[in-house]
């Protein structure tokens, strides 16, 4: 165990039991004992009034990589492309990566696979100091084997201290292989990234346990520090049309792959596109009660020129299709205005929309947790409020 209890000092007060987020401490014969659920979060160390809980230092010997640490400097982002066009998550990563690079006084490197030089230039305008470009057409379509071996090789050449990729279906599929190849850690689905002032390590914050809790993850003894970042959480960097960066074209030759994509079937619904691009989202939950309620929200969304969102409850009921679902297992959105109608505000919903600029909640239960995150709260019946609001807006807009 990374943490042990010095039984001589343990007074049996049980304070540590309360402090442990993982239920990893039990009482045996009046003394605290750490069990296998321990995640080494070290919370109990400071909780113990007797100072009886100590670190065993098991971890320390792993600092083996640290003498080569100084070689690992820059911040690298994986610039995902689809059909040869840079995906918006790449621009968000440049925005986040730029901040980290400035703080570390390091360069921002983008890696682009299967696209043209013009797209590489575009990455430079969005903030990349250097773009490693592998324009081979064999990399145009996503492929786990090829992408992971190329990215691993580029990382070994460039030796970045930090590597970021989007937590998209593509990033979440192949980046774990890269981390395994390089024998380093990978933190999934981060929502916030910062540099620790003292150690200069990357603090990676992510939701866990279905969004009920946030965890800060570190990768102190291995390089690079790798993370996937949830799309639409980070802000894009600044676009400077006269900016240019160094473009390094690499030819890594053979991209053998053991899997083959034989066909791509497009099933993109307009809603998915709309919900990501809309400035205003009107979202319905169990409170909408059925199709009539949904129609009412659609009317409001239309009057505002916005899109329709949904909680999982409304989707599970079959009132609104899954493609509209916002939250932990749905989409993450950050519109200017998010209007929640009959949504209670479960954490799993909140993680998908919390970063919206303005949140308006309409709910008839004054104790609904959604009011805790709302910019404006209305306690009331949506069947009364929403139609009135729609009418009013139409009046103003002269529709």
């Amino acid at each position: 165990m990374p943490v042990i209890v010095n039984a001589d000092n343990c007074s049996g007060c049980e304070t540590c039991l309360e402090s442990c987020p993982f239920d990893a401490i039990e009482m045996k014969e009046g003394k605290a004992v750490i069990n296998e659920y321990c995640n080494a979060c070290m919370t109990c160390l400071s909780a113990c009034p007797e100072g009886a809980i100590i670190e065993t230092g098991d971890k320390a010997e792993n600092a083996k990589a640290s003498d080569t640490f100084k070689d690992y400097k820059d911040v690298m982002i994986f610039a995902e492309q689809r059909d040869g066009k840079i995906a918006s998550v790449a621009l968000e990563l440049l925005g986040a990566g730029k901040k980290l690079a400035d703080e570390l006084d390091a360069k921002l490197i983008a890696v682009l696979l299967g696209a043209d030089e013009s797209e590489a230039q575009e990455l430079a305008r969005w903030g990349a100091d250097k773009v490693v470009l592998c324009s081979d057409s064999a990399l145009r379509d996503f492929n786990d084997d090829a992408y992971s071996s190329v990215l691993a090789r580029v990382i070994q050449q460039q030796k970045p201290s930090i590597v970021l990729a989007g937590a998209t279906p593509i990033g979440r599929s192949f980046v774990p292989r890269v981390a395994a190849k390089l024998n380093t850690g990978l933190t999934a689905d981060c929502t916030s990234l910062e540099i620790d002032k003292e150690s200069r390590n990357l603090l990676q914050v992510r939701p866990a346990f279905g969004g009920n809790i946030m965890a800060t993850i570190l990768c102190p003894d291995y390089r690079p520090q790798m993370a996937t970042v949830r799309p639409r959480v980070m802000k894009k960097g600044e676009y400077q049309k006269d900016r240019s960066g160094e473009i390094i074209a690499v030819d890594l030759g053979d991209f053998t792959s053991r899997t083959k994509v034989v066909e791509f079937v497009k099933e993109v619904s307009e809603v998915s596109v709309n919900i990501h691009e809309a400035d205003i989202i009107v979202a319905g939950g169990r409170g909408v009660g059925g199709e009539k309620g949904v129609q009412m929200l659609e009317d409001l969304a239309e009057a505002l020129g916005g899109a329709l969102g949904a909680s999982r409850a409304a989707v599970d009921e079959g009132w609104i299709p899954y493609s509209h679902q916002v939250g932990q297992t749905g989409k993450t959105v950050n519109p200017k205005v998010y209007i929640c109608c009959g949504i209670s505000g479960a954490v799993q919903h909140l993680v998908g929309m919390q970063s919206s600029d303005i949140i308006i909640a309409i709910n008839k239960n004054p104790d609904a947790p959604i009011f805790n995150v709302a910019t404006y709260g209305i306690i009331g019946d949506i069947f009364e409020i929403v139609p009135m609001l729609t009418r009013k807006i139409k009046e103003i807009k002269g529709q």
């Binding site: 990978l186 009920n212 083959k260 034989v262 009011f371 404006y376 609001l389």
Partner: protein, 260 residues
Amino acid sequence: MNIIVCIKQVPDTAEIRINPETNTLMREGVPSIINPFDLHAIEAAVQIKEQHGGTVTVLTMGPPQAETSLREAVSMGADEVVLLSDRAFAGSDTWATSYTLAKAIEKLGADIIFCGKQAIDGDTAQVGPETAEFLDIPHISYIKKIEEVTDSAIRVQRMMDEGYDVVESSLPVLLTVVKELNQPRMPSLKGKMAAKKAEIKKMGMADINADEKSLGLKGSPTQVKNIFAPEIKAERKMIEGTAEEQVENLVKELREIKCL
């Protein structure tokens, strides 16, 4: 056809609440369940066995309590169940978990390995692809349909952002599955009987040829530094009055901030 399904026992996160005073998870009374995605993985494996013959081995790495989940897997049609448990595995992150699972899978041997897309406690979706890398075999993520299986190859549909890919792979291969793939069966009476009697094979560090330094917390590159409750914005403004007044005032606010 030897099929291995990796399952994880997880707390039912729908039931987890956070203690507002201590900022910790309240796990008490929260039931442990098979990770929901893994139920679909078991179902897929059993269906392939029913059509092509072979054996389904369900593997989990976890504390001794995980035995209950393995018995449940037997009731759904698993032929063999393996509990990978050792104090040395405690505190594993996804890297160390994948390394350990891969070492066990090497020992057991498999043509197809199934994982869930992600576990609902950690939500990382990393263990499947990392395990495949350690085994040096291909993987395909987010399988929503299995189109064809032969003795040496497989064709499946992989869910993507804007549709799906039809992907072929040689065997052995590791697949991670999403809920759209199938409807997990309810245990039959016969299955429940079998579950009671099933013998659970136990494996520890000594049985899998693993490098001790790569196991558990010691072998984990990532560390949890701290845990805290999700931050909540507190700038709310309640709009009071009759329904008419509320709408009137909301519209006024929206115009002020130039949303209308």
